[in-house]
């Protein structure tokens, strides 16, 4: 009951959301259905009050009444009791109702499907009738006439919007392997096989916190929430600096400002990038570090990458999304058509697409509180059709995280792109690695014809045009999260390519202030320190590439500085 009374001074009973109720369903509803059926309820409550059994008599429970139509357009009245309820109490109702000429059936249904509202309550012998504060219904007068000696208490009622405790996740099995924190191609090969095998054992999605722990403890991948203002992505997968080492650390940055359900999906996606595309990532890291001395490498890598994988890496993204969908809908459920072929709903089999759509809804925050049942079944079917139609009509594919995952999962039913993408990556590696080795040999001095590398580019015939056409992109290519490129001080000719000095902020300059010290990446304490201007002035023919700290690094440094 609510503390405060209603505007008419009546007590207010609070009703939290009720899911299933025990229903007695009658055919032939009229506009006066409450006047017609309320006496049937009150008579039963009076019987209960007169019961010799204390367990039956001494209790409190509400009764709902609703009017609804079914799919055969039958107009029905439903009298609903709470579920569960003592069977003897239930029996009082059933024994009287089953003999009624309009009685149809008894069953468990959702309260919203029968559109039930509270009409009365039995409260330890007292009978309470519910009316809203400004109502003066005819049925109330009739009840007073039918039961002149009964002192009904009048109350109003209020629905309580309880925060839905929604948990579509389950506890995952513990992996039976443990990968090292440092990865090379050999250890990755073993790790990816283990992860894919583990994915097969999943029976349900597990949620962000659990997947994060498993990634860190078993997959050898660190996961951090990135909170810096310039982080414009959902997430990304990064490696530690190679700097001529054999192995790298792998970490995933997740945008801190995402709902936990979306964090789960983004983390699954990035883990799948690791599983599927680690060699590409490793090559990219080599290119990043190689481009400090051979700037053309970066341009060439981008160009070939766009050629093989499309702008925005569409093929790679679809590949990762398809594998990530196994974290959302487990492997055992596919092919979905095997499941939908044995389901019949109202004379109709759902399509695999519709079934996939239904399974995905609880996993997204926008859709997790939407409930579908017989009342709004048609609305659900129309929504599925509209969403799939709108995806197919959107140029460039998905324009939201939800649509990209939905599309990838639906495609999984008909076609996994893995084989095609795997071939593409292999071809890309062969294409690029050949030139990468040449470039490294030039740097190491074992290739004495420096122009050889440039000639290889010119063999494509569009070397200069490409630079001019793509200069806008290239000139911004340094401006990305955590990275900034500064051209050389004496770049009077407007050279598009220049060698770069890689710098990181000094530990006592965690926020990367230009007027404070920066150090040569990888040299640590052995590096000279200087402001940006000092570094530029020291080597005016070199550009600078600045690698800012990520938020977890800043937090660690601040913690160390505190001590």
């Amino acid at each position: 009951m609510r503390e405060e009374v209603d505007p008419k001074g009546r007590k207010v009973d609070l009703f939290p959301k009720v899911d299933l109720v025990n229903n007695f369903i009658f055919n032939h509803a009229t506009d006066n259905y409450i006047s017609d059926y309320l006496p049937k309820i009150i008579d039963r409550l009076m019987d209960i009050r007169g019961s010799g059994n204390k367990r039956v008599r001494e209790r409190s429970f509400p009764v709902w009444i609703g009017r609804t139509t079914n799919r055969l357009d039958m107009d029905m009245v439903c009298i609903s009791l709470p579920h569960p309820i003592l069977s003897r109490v239930d029996h009082y109702f059933w024994e009287a109702y089953y003999k009624d000429e309009n009685y149809l059936e008894t069953g468990l249904y959702k309260l919203r499907d029968v559109q039930g509202v509270p009409i009365c309550r039995y409260d330890y012998g007292k009978i309470i009738l519910y009316i809203l504060p400004f109502e003066n219904p005819d049925w109330l007068k009739k009840m007073r006439q039918y039961y002149p000696s009964e002192d009904f208490e009048l109350r109003s009622w209020q629905k309580v919007e309880k925060e839905k405790k929604d948990n579509p996740y389950s506890t995952p099995p513990k992996p039976n392997f443990k990968a090292d924190q440092y990865h090379d191609l050999k250890s990755w090969n073993e790790n990816r096989a283990n992860i894919i095998e583990y994915l097969r054992t999943l029976t349900a999605p597990m949620g962000y916190a659990k997947l994060k722990r498993i990634a860190q403890d078993y997959f050898g991948i660190s996961v951090v929430n990135e909170s810096l203002p310039g982080f414009y992505k959902y997430g990304c997968l990064r490696l530690s600096w190679l700097l001529e080492k054999d192995k790298v650390g792998v970490r995933i940055l997740i945008n801190k400002h995402l709902h936990h359900k979306l964090k789960y999906i983004v983390l699954a996606h990035e883990i799948c990038h690791y599983v599927l595309h680690f060699p590409l990532l490793l090559l990219g890291q080599m290119v990043e570090e190689g481009s400090w001395k051979i700037p053309e490498l970066e341009w060439y890598f981008r160009r070939r990458s766009d050629h093989f994988f499309g702008k925005n890496n569409y093929q790679l993204e679809l590949d990762a999304n398809q594998l990530a969908s196994f974290f959302l809908i487990p492997a055992w459920m596919f092919p979905m058509k095997n499941i939908t072929s044995i389901i019949l709903e109202g004379g109709r089999k759902p399509s695999p697409t519709e079934m996939i759509w239904r399974f995905l809804q609880p996993l997204f925050p926008d859709t997790d509180d939407k409930e579908y049942s017989w009342v709004n079944w048609n609305e659900m079917i129309v929504t599925v059709d509209n969403e799939m139609h709108s995806f197919n009509n959107t140029k460039g594919g998905a324009n939201s995280l939800y649509m990209s995952i939905l599309n990838a999962t639906v495609l999984r039913e008909v076609q996994m792109v893995r084989e095609d993408v795997s071939k593409l990556i292999e071809d890309f590696h062969k294409d690029f690695y050949h030139y990468y080795r040449i470039a490294i040999n030039i740097v190491n001095g074992s290739e004495d014809n420096v122009d050889f590398f440039k000639r290889e580019f010119e063999a494509y015939g569009t070397y200069h045009e490409d630079i001019l056409n793509n200069w806008e992109e290239l000139s911004h290519s340094g401006q990305s999260f955590g990275k900034k490129v500064i051209p050389p001080l004496n770049n009077l000719e407007g050279r598009q390519f220049f060698k770069k000095i890689p710098l990181q902020p000094a530990i006592y300059n965690p926020n990367g202030d230009f007027k404070n010290d920066w150090k040569y990446l990888g040299l640590g304490m052995n590096s000279p320190a200087g402001t940006i201007e000092e570094w530029r002035s020291n080597k005016p023919e070199y550009g600078l590439v600045l690698y800012y700290f990520e938020s977890w690094q800043i937090n660690q440094i601040k913690e160390i500085n505190r001590w």
């Binding site: 504060p133 709902h259 806008e472």
Partner: protein, 202 residues
């Protein structure tokens, strides 16, 4: 590094500390529409707000092509965006499903009028509650408000019971206030006979 925040369709409610609003948005399309309105508003402030950013070579990122809002999120701007979301919810709730017709201009114009309402006289609560009532009447508002926790307890509203901080806005006071708001052209009467139904003037 420029100290700007990137609001995306999936995280703008979290960044604006409006996670609770999700349940008030009835569909994904409506969320898209609201985000688009915020984009139009912020674009009006800073036309260069969408910075060109390119992936790094050495990372595989998840980024969906689409509109983002890239702005310096000062306290003032955050508060303004929160106000826009609040007004959007009021107007879309009162629009009988026609929220697609809401534009930034309508929302800003209404926001200016709402700022003149007196919270301590319950005027804002009437507007906020109107879209959530079963028949958009004074009775409906009264049922929603009376006896429940005050929506603005710090405003010392004349209708707030100070001990329990609950609303005591009775039906006749709500009716009178609605007539007053009609004169101020905030509300319009939709029928002549009781129960009178009200709509928000946009």
């Amino acid at each position: 590094m420029v100290n700007k925040v990137t609001l995306m369709r999936e995280n703008f409610l979290d960044i604006l500390s409006l996670q609770g609003v999700r349940k008030d948005l009835n569909s994904k399309n409506q969320t898209d529409h609201l985000f688009q309105l915020l984009y139009e508003y912020t674009n009006g402030i800073d036309e260069n707000q969408t910075e060109f950013t390119v992936s790094n070579n050495h990372e595989l990122e998840m980024r969906i092509p689409g509109t983002v809002i890239h702005v310096q999120l000062t306290g003032l701007l955050k508060s303004k965006l929160q106000d826009i979301v609040a007004i959007y919810l009021i107007l879309s709730g009162a629009s009988d499903g026609n929220w697609v017709k809401l534009t930034v201009g309508i929302i800003i114009a209404f926001l200016d009028r709402v700022k003149k309402l007196k919270i301590e006289r319950g005027e804002l609560c009437i507007i906020e509650t109107l879209s959530k009532t079963y028949n958009r009447s004074s009775e409906g508002d009264c049922i929603k408000l009376f006896g429940n926790k005050c929506l603005y307890p710090s405003s010392m509203c004349q209708f707030m019971k100070s001990e329990s901080k609950t609303c005591q806005f009775d039906e006749s006071s709500i009716k009178s206030t609605m007539m007053f708001l009609k004169e101020k052209k905030i509300l319009k009467q939709q029928n002549a006979i009781d129960p009178i139904q009200w709509a928000i003037v946009t």
